[in-house]
Amino acid sequence: MKRRFPLYLLVPLLIALISVPTGFFYVDWNKSGEGAGLYSRDWKPEAIFAYWNPKDFYQSVDTVVGVFDGEQCVQCHQGVTPGIVNDWRKSRHAKPSGQQATVYCSDCHGNNHEDLHLPTPDVCGSCHDKQHGEFIDEKRYGFPSHSLAMERALDAKHFADKPKAEVTACLQCHSVASKCDSCHTRHLFSAAEARRPEACITCHSGPPHPDDETYFHSKHGQLYLAEGENWDWSKPLSKGNYPAPTCAYCHMDAGKHQVADKSIWQFGIKQVNPLTAGNIVKRKQWIDLCSDCHEKDWSADRLKEMDAERKRAWKKLYKAESILKSLRSDKLLFPSAKQRPFYPMNSESDLLHYERIGFFEGQASAFYNVSALERDYFEMWYFENLTAYKGAAHGDASFIKKGHEAMDKSLKLIQDKADRLRFIGELENNIKNDQQKYAPEKLWKNGEYTLYNRDNN
C-alpha cells in the first residue's frame, strides 16, 4: 500500500515554502526604495545624508576631471584644503613604520576625481582587518551597538516619519556605524585620540545618555581631568598603562573594537534580569576588568549596588506605566491615539490605533504627537531613568540622586494628572448630548508644523 505524505505535515510545509521566501522578498522590496532601511519607500534622503551614510547615498563630485596619483592629490590639496593635508602629514598613514608603504589620499578615496568615494569601514578594514572584524562582529550582540547604529536609526519609525532636514541631527551620531572617523577624526586617524574620553562625548552626552557628565563627575573622571594631560596615550588600553580608566579602557578593554559584548543592562531602556547565565558570564568579565585596580569582592559589591539601583528604578517606572495603562483601558487618555496625529508610520486606514506605552509597544517613537501625560512618562523613562542609570554605572552618586528624585517627582505628577483626567473624564461622561462634547482633533491635528510633518517626511 502506498503511504501518503501526511496532510498535517504537508500543509505547514507548503505554507512555510511559500511564506518565507515571500517574506524575504517583501523585506527586500521595502528596502529598495529611494531612502534606506525598512521604510525606504516612504522617504527620500536629504543631500547631506551622503556624508553620514556614504554607503547608501554618496556620489562623487564631478567638478574636477582627471586621474591623479597620491603625491598629486597632496600637492593640490595643500593649497585647497590645507587643514586635511596638515593632518595627514602628521598621521601614521604619511609616515608608516618599517617597510610599510605610505597610504595616500587615493588609496582610500580612489584616484579618479570624478569617481571619488568616502571611505566606509570596509575601506579601513582592508588594512585594519583585526579592528574592522571586531567592529562588525559586534552586530551579533544586538542593539545598542556602534555597528548597528545606522541601520537601526534608519529603521526607526520616527526617523522615517519626521521631516528629513530635522532628523539629519540623528545621523551625525548614528554615522558611527558608517565611518571610522567618528572616533579617529580625519585625517589624522589617531589611536591616541580615540583613547581619550572626549572622543566619545560628542554623541555620548545629553539627557538620555549623560555619559560625559557622569564619567567626569566620578573619581575616575576627576583623576583624568586632573592628570590625564600627562598620561602616555600611545600605550594600549591594558592593565598598568593608565592610572585611571577612561570610557575606552572599560568598554573597549585591550583596544577591542566592540563595546557590546559586556553589556548587561542594554542602555537601561528595558528591564533585564542581571542573573541569567549569560549575564553572570558578563558580570565576571566586568569584575575581572575592575580588578586591574580594585579587589574582586569590592568590585562585585559595586555591581550589586547597581542591580539594586536598577530594581528601584524599574519599580517606579512600572508604577507609572500601570497608571498610564489603566487610563488607556478606561479610554481616558486625552487626546486619544485617534484624536491626534497618528503614531509614526500609521495612517487613517489602519485598523488599530492605540497609545504606545512602554518599551515593547514602541514607546521610543512616542515623544511627539502624544498627550502631555504620555510625554511625561517618556521623559521619566528615557531621561530621568537613564540619568540614574548612567550615574550608577559610572560611579556618580549625584546623578543617581538626581535621576531618582526626578523620577519620584514625575511619578507624583503622573498620578496627579491621571486623577485629574479621571475627574474631567467623568464630568464629560455626564454630558448626554455627544454634540456638546469637546472634540480635540481641530487643535491637535492642525498647525503649521503638524501639517508640514503630516505631508512631508
Binding site: 543631500a47 547631506i48 541631527a169 589624522l188 585620540e193 560628542t202 554623541c203 552626552s205 511627539y368 508644523y449
Partner: protein
Amino acid sequence: MAKIFLTAFLSPALSIFLLTVMATDVFATQAVPKKNITLKNTSCIQCHEAQNRSLIKDWQNSAHATAEPVVDCVSCHGSLHSNMASTARHDDSCTGCHGGEKAPVAHSYASSKHGSLMRIEKNTYDWNQPFILANYRTPGCGYCHMYQSNHNVSSTVRHELMNGKTDNSEIEKVQDKMRQACQTCHAPRYISLLFSNGEAMLEIARKKVREAKAVIDQAENHFNENQLAPAKQQFKKMQQHLRNVHLGIGHQSPDYQWWHGQPALDGDLLRIKDSIGELQRLKAINESRSDAVSD
C-alpha cells in the same frame, strides 16, 4: 686751531649723535610699549589705527564696541603688551563673558567634534599663530568668528540669535564669511550642504514655535491671563530650545540640534496644546452644564 677743529669735526658728530638718540627714542615709543606698562583702550587705538585702520574699524562695527559695558581691546587681550595676541586667541577669553563653559553658546561648541578635539589638543597648539589657513588643527571660537583677524565678530553671527527676529537677508553674508574658515579644511559641497540643511532644520524648528504661538494667540480670545499662564511659561522654554537648535547647527553639535533642540520643542508644543486643550474641554463641559440648567 681749536675753533676749526670744533666746527669741522665735533659739531657734525655731536649733531648726528643727538639726532640719532632723539630719533631712536621717538621710534622706540612708537614701536612697542614697554612690557610692564598697563595699557588702556585709547592708547591701543591711537597706535593700531595707524598700523591697521581696518582692524579698528571692524571692531567699531561689531557688537562688542557698542556693548554695555564695552568689550574693548583690553577685555580680550589683557592690559600687558606681551602675549597680547595669544591671550585673546584662547577660547577662555570669549567664554568668560559669554556665560561660561556651561552656557548653551559655549556648551554647544564644547559638545561638537571641534570642541572635543580642542579639549584634547589645546595645550599642544602654538597660539602665537594667526587664525588663518588651518594653522590650528581644530577651530576654537576665534578661528571661525575672527578668521583672518576679522575684528567684526558680529559679521559672523546671525542677529536672530540675539533678538529672536528672523532676517533672511543676512544669511548669505554670514555664510560667506564663515565659508572662508570652513573651507580651509572642508570640501565646498560639504559646506554648502551643511548650510542649506541647517537652514531647513532651523525653519522646521521655527514652524513648531509659530504653531505654538498661533495656538496661544487663538486662546487669548477665550481665556484670561491666569488660565494661559502655564502655556505661556512653556512658550518661554520654547524660545530657549529654538535657540539651542540654532546654536547646535552653528556649532555642529548633534546634542543641541537634537536632545536640547528638536524633541524638546516637540515636548513644548504638545504641552502647550495639552494645557489649552484642557481649558477648551472644561469650557465645553461648563457650557453643557449651563445648557442643562437652562433646559
